[in-house]
Each structure stands twice: as C-alpha cells, then as structure tokens.
C-alpha cells in the first residue's frame, strides 16, 4: 500500500503551503474600456472552499489531506506539506469512498454556476459576433457532435475519447450533454495531465538543469499545484518568491533554471508572465520597441539581492572530498550541485549598470535602483506600483506582488491570451509572447473581456476554460489556417490544428492501452531529498551519508539522479517512479501519458519528433512536420503499436460481432466518429480482401484526420 507507507514517512516539520502574499486594501479595478461588453455577474463568484479531511484506510491508518480529484477508482489527495498521492479508493474505508464522491460534487458546486458560465460565454459570443458582422463575416456553422466531442476531449483531457466514451456521448439525447461533458473532463485527472503539458512548455520544465542537476521536484511541485487547481496568480507568485533548495522546495525550479544567467532569467519571466519582450534591452535600447536598457536593468534589480548558487558550499564539499578516492566523483558533484543551487536573498542589491553602458540616463558601473516598467504613464499611478524598494531582501516579494496583481497592466491579459490560443489555435494578440501593444489584438474588445473574465475568476484557469468551451464561438466548426499576413483572424471558430505532440502521443497511448493510462502517475521529486545535506552540516560524514542515501534511492529502477536515462535516454528505466498503476511497455515504448514520461523525452522519441519542445526556451514546442515523423508512424515503433493485436482499440472492436460494427468501433477509437456509409463499405471490403483489423488501425492512425483536430 504505497500511499499509506508514505503517509507514515511524512515528517511534520516540512514547509506548509506558502501563504499568498497579503495585498493591502483592495484598490478599485483599473478601468478597462469595453465596447459593447456589459459586465457579467461573474464577479460575484463564490469562493471555492478547499476540502480537508482525515482519511482512514481499511487497516485503520489515518492521514489529514486535501481532496484533489476522483476519477473512476482512483483518488488524488494532497497533504499539508504539498505532496500528492494517487491511489485506488478501495483501500479506504467505505465512508471515505462515499465522502470522496461527495467532495467531487462539492468542488463542482463551488465552481462557476451554469448560469454564470452561460452568461460569460454569451458575452464572448456577442463580442466576437459584433466584430465579425462589422467586417461582413459570420460565425462558422455549429460544430457537429462528433467534431465537438473530439475537440473537447483533446483540449480539456489531452487525448481522444475511447470508442466507448465516444459512443456514450454520441448516443445521448440530453440537451445539456455538451456542458456536462465539458464539466466531466475539466474535473478529471486527464485535465491535470494536459495542463501540465501546456505549462511545461511555457515554464521550461526539464528533468535536469544545467550540468545535469536533477529537477524532478519542480515537476512534482507543478503537478501538485495543477491537481489542486491552484490559481495562476498564486502559482506564479510561489515560483517567483520561492526560497531554499530545489530538493526541499520544488517551486524554486522556475527561478533556478536561470541561476547562472540571472539577467536572462528576468527577460524570460517578463516574456512568460507579461508577454513583454525585453530581451534586446538587456544589451542595448530596444531597436524596435520602447524599452531601454535602463528599463531592463531597473526591473532586473528586483532580483539583484537574490542569489541562486551557493559557491561556498560547492567549495567546501570539493575540499572535503578531494582526498577521498573511494567516493564516486560524479555522485559527489551532483550532491554538491544539488545543495548549492538554492534561492536566497541577501541584504544588498548588487546589480550595477554594465561596464559598456553607453547611454546618458545612467552611468556604467553605478548601482541600479529597482523600478517597475509601465506601458503607459497613467499606469504608474496605480496603487500596485507603490512598491517598497528599501529592503533588498524583500525586493523579490515586492516584484511578485506587482507582477501577479490584477492591477498589473499585462499579467491577466497575458494568461487570458495564452489560454485563448490553447483553445482556438491563435491568440487574440499574436505573437502571444509580445503583447506590449494591445491595439494589435484582432479584437481589443474581446481581449479586454477575456482579461476581465480571468480576473473575475480569480485566475482560476479551469473556470476560464469552462467559460470558453461553453461559448458558441468555441463550439463552431473550424476554419482553415488563416494567413495573418493578409488580415487579422476574427474567430469565426477555432482553427484546424495539428495535434500537439502530447495530444497525439496521449491519444495513441489510449488507443493502445485504454483509459488505464490515465491512472499512471510519475512522481520522482522525493528521491532528490536523499541528496540533501542537513542544514548547516557540511561534513565529510554527511557527504558520505548522502552518497549512500542517493545510491539507495536511485538503485534498481534506473531512476538515475539526472543520469542519462532520466535525462531522456530510455524511458523504460523509470518503472519504479510510478504511483497508482504501472505503465505497460510495448515495442520499447513506455505507454504512459506524456506528462508522466521524461521531461522532455529523448530526441528520437515520438514526442520530440512531433514537436515537443526541448524546454531550453519558453514556448519551444512546434507543430512542424518532418519525414522521420512519418517514418516512425508508418514503420517504426509507433507504426507497430497501432497495428498490434493487443491494442485496446482493436480489442474493443473485436468485442463486436459484425465486421461493420467492428469497423465502426475502430473509427470511434481513432477518429471519434462513425464511418460514412461509403467508408464502411470500403473498410469492410478491405477486411475480406486480406487486411486485418490491425491493418485498419494502422490506416486510421495514419490518416490526416487523426493528426488534426477540426
């Protein structure tokens, strides 16, 4: 009983969930000029209570934890130290299983009411409609149930539905079946998996940082936060203000990624969280935008008291172990790095203007006084700009308060635009990583409304997506990829998109092993604790202990601490890192969802071939094509996977008794629709003509229709 074994190991002294920074008196919202968009009553949202409970297993053991989710037989809970556990409910006493079901209902009840959702969605439709008709355009025809089904599964659950899931939805006559399906999916664990993929690309989630420092704890932390549906502002604030070592506090991962290049770190976070492009201003006044090098340095100075790497401990460990020939050098180096990479604020802001500073507004070598950028002069008088720069050790906190405030001129718009792109394939402002000029939006009114919705939802990304998914605009049939060089796209509907690498992989995994894959979770962050030296104890004996602990923690399963395997070589070595169910392997492919595989996968893995980012930069995923993709899909391991007799899609089809029903079942598995009568005849005939159902699986997986979402 893995979870309860772990419960027993929990120590009480661990960090409690970081309390959100208190903002002073809530000032009035900045005025946004919204044309034709009356305020929706979304602001009156009920706050969603977190459900804590003492859970008891059948052997009488107890644990205090927060309810995070329930899917079929699996429950996810989170303890106060921030760790999540995922296990079959049948180890719990029946009362607690019942309680979990009640929790699911309650957390749904605490979300936006159907009336609020409908109203906010209607506002989107009205705003899009106004712009469309002003340009003599109209919405695309409503999407069919089949199109909607496939689209919503891919967007909200990250994969296609199984034949059974598809058939159930298509057969239903309930008038609210679309709204109900949306809710079922956004409250399922698959929702967390696809959100993780999306955020991993944005936040550069990697198994190893520079020099092979393992960073699984950052992944675990992010998964935990997503499972608990932590609002975006809190999530970002936790990352920006995180303190301590990566092994103790996974949230430090975001900032530590750039520990050795702090200035780049600042320009990255400006792009990721504000959609502002200051990278040029790092070295010189921006040639094409308004930012100056001084602006950049003044922003970067908020991080000028923060240190990411403890050189003293690195040197100390090196000195202690120099004469110890018996200690494995690689392990010692990793332990040294693991203890050295940490976030700590000193009492001095150390950033100075660079030696080659060439403008008149500051002097080379002078210390920089932290100051916030604004996109217009008026913004500087907003209360949120009233930050204190007196205490260097508080600078990061002050910055985070400004960054994540609803009053920040870009924070809400940036995430709203990115979430919109996730659903529609294009942002309201493109490119999404440069939204300095809001007038570039295809509809500034729509952008303003989405910004308003995300603030009203208190940065709850699930609620915002529920609103979007329920809109007529989202539920319209798709448009061909527009040429933005000719005209702005006004959102007649979502655009036809190639599945992301993760959507394609997760869909193939589910056709191979069914919904089993939704319950396979990879969690490795706790293993990193083995590498931590006790605070203040940098002694040879402790280093030796850490080496021993590390060996044990990473023994056997090949969950090598940042070794080649963990970095994305063979994913098969991960077998021991899984909670819940264990993944199945076929054709050397570990059949777990993309979020539960190495981050990122190795370069030759399906995921990378199909465009999973290398996570060196934010937004590094692509949907570009290449011949090796097609070769792997037709002839390689994935080609074998889709034409395998053990495939769940094929086995589901074999449960049917007529060739026609079998073909229909396979169509539902791969394309989420029934075949046309012509297709049915063609496919059935091919089965009498030397091809097997497994061949039909191969054919359907290789259709363009499978690769794209309409």
């Amino acid at each position: 009983m893995r979870p309860f074994f772990l419960f027993a190991c929990l120590c009480t002294g661990l960090v409690a969930l970081a309390a959100p920074k208190k903002e002073g008196k809530k000032p009035a919202e900045p005025v946004i000029k919204v044309v034709a968009a009356p305020a929706t009553p979304v602001a009156s949202l009920a706050s969603r209570a977190v459900i804590w409970h003492e859970w008891t297993d059948k052997e009488g053991r107890k644990i205090d934890a927060q309810f995070c989710g329930l899917s079929g037989d699996f429950i996810t809970i989170q303890t106060r130290d921030g760790r999540t556990f995922h296990f079959k409910t049948d180890i719990l006493i029946p009362e607690d299983i019942e309680f979990a079901r009640g929790c699911l209902d309650r957390s749904r009840m605490n979300s936006f009411s159907p009336a609020i959702i409908a109203s906010a969605a209607a506002d989107i439709d009205r705003l899009v409609g106004v712009v469309l008709s002003a340009n003599k355009q109209a919405f695309n025809a409503p999407a069919t149930d089949e199109q909607f089904l496939r689209r919503i599964y891919l967007d909200a659950a990250g994969r296609v539905p199984t034949a059974k899931e598809a058939a159930t939805f298509l057969a239903s006559n309930a008038p609210d079946k679309r709204a109900k399906l949306i809710d079922d999916l956004v409250f399922s664990p698959s929702y967390s998996m696809q959100m993780f993929n999306w955020m991993a690309d944005l936040l550069r989630v990697k198994d190893t940082f520079a020099k092979g420092v393992p960073a699984f704890s950052f992944e675990d932390w992010l998964k935990t936060r997503i499972a608990a549906n932590t609002p975006w502002d809190k999530l970002v604030s936790e990352m920006i203000t995180a303190d301590g070592r990566l092994c103790d506090n996974g949230a430090t991962g975001f900032m530590l990624f750039d520990a050795e290049m702090p200035l780049d770190g600042v320009s990255n976070l400006m792009t990721t969280f504000l959609g502002t492009n200051m990278a040029c201003a790092q070295c010189h006044d921006h040639p094409l935008a308004e930012w100056t090098q001084r602006d950049f340095y003044q922003m970067a100075a908020f991080f000028g008291a923060t240190d990411g790497k403890d050189e003293a401990i690195l040197g100390a460990i090196k000195k202690l172990t120099r004469a110890e020939a018996s200690l494995p050098k690689a392990a010692v180096n990793k332990i040294a790095d693991m203890n050295a990479f940490r976030l700590e604020d000193g009492d001095k802001q150390k950033l100075t203007f660079p030696k080659d500073y060439k403008y008149k507004d500051a002097k080379a070598g002078d210390p920089v006084t932290p100051a916030l950028i604004a996109w217009s002069k008026a913004e500087k008088s907003l209360p949120v700009y009233n930050v204190s720069t007196k205490t260097p050790s508080q600078l990061r906190d002050e910055f985070a308060r400004w960054l994540t405030s609803p009053q920040n001129p870009r924070f809400a718009t940036n995430i709203a635009n990115r979430i919109w792109k996730k659903a529609f394939g294009l942002g309201v402002i493109e490119p999404v990583n440069d939204i300095d000029d809001l007038t570039q939006a295809s509809s500034p009114e729509l952008m303003a409304h989405l910004t308003f919705v995300i603030k009203a939802a208190k940065f709850d990304l699930r609620e915002v997506q529920r609103v979007i998914y329920n809109s007529k605009t989202y539920q319209a049939s798709s448009s061909a990829t527009p040429d933005l060089g000719k005209a702005k796209y006004l959102f007649n509907g979502p655009i036809v998109r190639r599945l992301t690498a993760e959507q394609a992989w997760d869909s193939l995994v589910v056709t191979a092993v069914g919904t089993y894959a939704d319950n396979v979770l990879l969690r490795r962050g706790d293993d990193l604790k083995a590498m931590a030296l006790p605070a203040g104890k940098v002694t040879l004996a402790e280093v030796k202990n850490a080496v021993d602990r590390t060996k044990k923690a990473f023994a056997g399963g090949g969950k090598a601490a940042g070794g080649k395997k963990a970095a994305g070589g063979s994913s098969l070595g991960l077998a021991n890192g899984y909670e819940g169910d264990k993944p199945v392997s076929r054709f050397s492919l570990m059949l777990a969802r993309a979020s539960e595989l190495p981050q990122p996968s190795s370069e030759t893995h399906f995921l990378r071939l199909w465009g999973q980012g290398d996570r060196l930069l934010a937004d590094s995923s692509t949907n570009d094509g290449s011949v090796p993709q097609v070769l792997q899909m037709m002839n390689g391991s994935v080609g074998k996977l889709v034409s395998d007799v053990r495939s769940a899609a094929v086995m589901d089809a074999l449960k049917e008794h007529t060739p026609e029903a079998r073909v229909t079942s396979l169509y539902l598995s791969y394309l989420s629709r029934k075949p046309s009568s012509k297709e049915l005849i063609t496919a059935t005939k091919s089965l009498q003509d030397g091809l097997a159902l497994t061949d039909l699986g191969w054919v359907l997986a290789n259709t363009r229709e499978f690769l794209f979402v309409q």
């Binding site: 990255n268 370069e603 011949v627 061949d695 290789n702 363009r704």
Partner: protein, 435 residues
C-alpha cells in the same frame, strides 16, 4: 541550387510566403507553422540584393561542410601547435608535410598536412565545457533567452535546402540540440545517434503486399478529410506522406547506409564511433547533404594525457587523415570544407599528468573548400599561452566557414523575436586562410 532572395522581395508577405513554401517543398523537414508571418520576419532586414562578400577570394567554394567536434578540449600543444621548453608535452615534435610542425601523436595527419590550414591563434574567454562547446558550435555566446543556429541552418535560410529529399543538415554521434536556433524546426539537423544504424524506420515491418493494400486503403479512407483539405497545414502533411512513400522507394536513402561502402574503405576508417561517423559524413555530403556535424568525446585530458593522446588522439589521427585522403581521392576536397573544432585548448603547464582548460589560445584546423593547403594561420606565443597577435574568435571562425560556404556574412536578419542577428555575431571572416 541557390535561391538567395533579396530583402526587398522578402518584405512582400506574398513573396515571402512563396519563398518559404518553395524552401519547404524541397526540404526534408517541411515547415507547417500555423501561419507564415513568424518565419517571414526572419527574412533579411537590410537591402542587400546579394551577398556583400560575394566574389571575394574563397567565397562559395565550399559546397558542403563537415564540422568535427572534439569534445572535452583538444590540447593544442600536444597536437597542432607543438612547443619546446617548459610547455612541451610527452610527445615529440615532428616535421610534417606542408612545412609545419606537429606532435608525434599525429603521424598520419603529418602525411596529409600539406592539404590543411592550421589556425593556431583561436581565442575565447569561456572555459566551461557546455558553454564553450555552444560558442564553438554556433559562434555566439550562450544565452538563456535565445538559441542560436548552426551554420547548417544559416545556410538553409540563405541558400534553401541542399537536396530534394535528403535533409540539409545532419548531426552524427550527437543530438541536434536546437541546431535550427530561431529558424523553423524544419531546419533542425537530423540526428543520427549511431552511424551504423543510419536512418531509422525506413523499411516497413509488414510484407510488401500488405504495404500496398494499406496505402491504397489509406488513400481511400482519408479522401474525406485529407483529400479535399482546404487547410495549408493538412495539405502539407499530404505532401509529406507522399514524399515519405517516395523516399522509401528511392535510392537516396543509401546515403545513410554504411553497409554499401566497400569493405576496404570501411576498414580504413576503422570501427570506432568517430571512424564510422566520418565515413557516414562523407557519404552524406557526397549525396547532397550540405552540413554534417560529427562529434567525438574523450578530449578532456586532466590526467593520463600521454595514454589518452595515444588512444583518443591516435584514433582521431587515423580517421582524420583517412577522411581528407578519401575526399581528395573522390575529387570532393576542393568543394568540401572540413573543420576541426574543439571547445578550448589546454594549459601550457602540467598538473597531475594532464592539463587544465585553456580558452585563451587553442587550435582549429580547416581543410578543403577553398582554403590554403599546407598553411599555418596565426600563432600562439612561445609558451602556447596566448595568441601572438590578434586572435581568431569562434565568431570569426564561423564567419570564415560561412564565407567559404557562400553565405552573406555581413547580412543582418531579424529573428522572429525581433532581434537583429548576423553570422558569427558580427565578427569578420579570416581572409588570409583562403587560397
């Protein structure tokens, strides 16, 4: 096949688009970004109608480039820049062809050194492996906010794809690691992690009869969505499947197949990963791949330098000399530039049987592709500690390679993130190396 476009032409969105589609159609990796403006922004920003360096000596002589990466930091003093006195290593100094001196660790290279140019004044500031290797590979210092392309991607941008089915860039014994930089992912080199495996998944695991039946059924069943697609990206994938079917039938794939080499040639290159990698590189450039990187590790000689120079250095020596001779014998050397690159040199002083990292001065070697034969460019001081005069930076080495490859070295492009960039980070090419 040079399709160098003027910036003015590329400023027109329609023309840019057709330019990009033209590149895409002839490339191994076809770009299907959801819209074209992002790539189009990567078009040239200045008004240069043609390369400003066109016509200068050496320009465009190298139709292809083999870029050898000796990972770990090759000791210049123990290889191409031998020193007498306190800095001298365990190897002796020998007179080599082409009126230059090498160490006794490079006996085979000494026989072909009348065909090479040694640059003894390479200089950089970075002494950390990963960052220094990045600098040598791209000509730019590593940054956290941008990834820089290899020469292969620059070349694909300026010259188009180098072959109708084969990739324009390949990495051997290493991952591609964002080699496309800010250019479309389709410009990313194709990684071949194991040269003897070649390109994976080119043969179907099922019978030819089944393949035929499957593909005709695929065409019929995809007629509804794929067949009448109005979407550019769907059409692109249609073409992709088509070209993959053609590729599987074509003889072009033989470029990846070392088994097709005569046994005698295979034996000369040897069985090491470096040997097989260089043989594959030669096959690839011979068949139309423009830029091939071949990586080999083992050069971080902090200890037992003597043994490792014989072992790692010996393998390099045999394979490198074989590659140069083989290219020469096939008549390819004058049009193929072979670059020996390493992240830094090693210290003049010995410590614990080896030498520490030393970026201040080190050596690179160029051969073929229009560079002088039997020539030493620049020099280090008597100790091998610093360049004697102005050093050659990695950026300048890149500008030199780019000049040889016929790329407009001084032409600025604007990246999709709006940043102006040029090959080698504005460094000038070393004109003195060209014949």
């Amino acid at each position: 096949m040079s399709i160098l476009h003027s910036a003015n032409l590329l400023r027109n969105p329609e023309d840019r688009r057709s330019f990009i589609e033209k590149c895409a159609k002839v490339s191994f990796g076809l770009s299907v970004l959801p819209f074209f403006t992002r790539i189009a922004e990567a078009a040239e920003s200045t008004g240069a109608a043609k390369a400003p360096n066109a016509g200068l000596p050496g320009f465009g002589k190298a139709k292809r480039v083999i870029f050898l990466q000796l990972n770990g930091g090759m000791s210049h003093i123990d290889t191409f820049d031998p020193k007498a006195g306190a800095s001298k290593g365990p190897g002796s100094i020998v007179s080599a062809k082409g009126d230059m001196q090498l160490t006794s660790y490079l006996p085979e290279t000494a026989k072909i050194s009348d065909k090479i140019t040694v640059i003894r004044s390479m200089t950089a500031k970075v002494g950390v492996h990963a960052s220094a290797a990045y600098l040598m590979r791209t000509g730019f210092e590593q940054r956290g906010s941008v990834q820089h392309p290899t020469i292969g991607a620059w070349a694909q941008h300026f010259l188009g794809a180098s072959h109708k089915t084969l990739p324009s860039s390949v990495t051997v014994n290493r991952s591609s690691n964002h080699g496309n930089g800010w250019f479309p992912a389709a410009y990313s080199p194709l990684p071949i992690l194991n040269p003897t495996d070649g390109l994976l998944d080119t043969k179907s695991p099922v019978s030819a009869e089944t393949v035929t039946k499957r593909s005709s059924l695929l065409a019929e069943l995809d007629a509804g969505f794929g067949g009448k697609a109005g979407d550019e990206n769907v059409k692109s994938y249609n073409e992709f499947y088509e070209s993959t079917f053609q590729l599987m039938k074509s003889t072009d794939l033989k470029a990846f197949d070392l088994a097709a080499e005569p046994a005698e040639t295979k034996a000369r290159y040897g069985k090491s990963k470096f040997g097989q990698g260089c043989l594959l590189a030669r096959r690839l450039v011979e068949n139309g791949v423009r830029f091939v990187e071949v990586a080999i590790g083992g050069w971080d000689m902090h200890a037992t330098l003597d043994d490792r120079m014989e072992d790692v250095g010996g393998d390099f020596d045999r394979v490198y000399a074989t590659l140069i001779q083989d290219l020469e014998a096939k008549g390819l050397l004058d049009s193929t530039l072979v670059v020996v690159a390493t992240e830094f040199g090693r210290k003049p002083s010995f410590e614990g049987g080896g030498r520490g990292h030393h970026p201040l001065v080190f050596s690179s070697v160029l051969a073929g592709g229009g560079v002088k034969r039997g020539y030493v460019h620049g020099a280090s001081d008597a100790k091998g500690y610093a360049p004697e005069a102005d050093g050659v930076t990695p950026g300048s080495l890149h500008a030199t390679i780019a000049h040889a490859a016929g790329l407009p070295v001084q032409t600025e492009i604007i990246t999709p993130a709006g940043r102006p960039m040029q090959i080698g980070n504005k460094a000038a090419a070393q004109k003195g190396v060209f014949a």
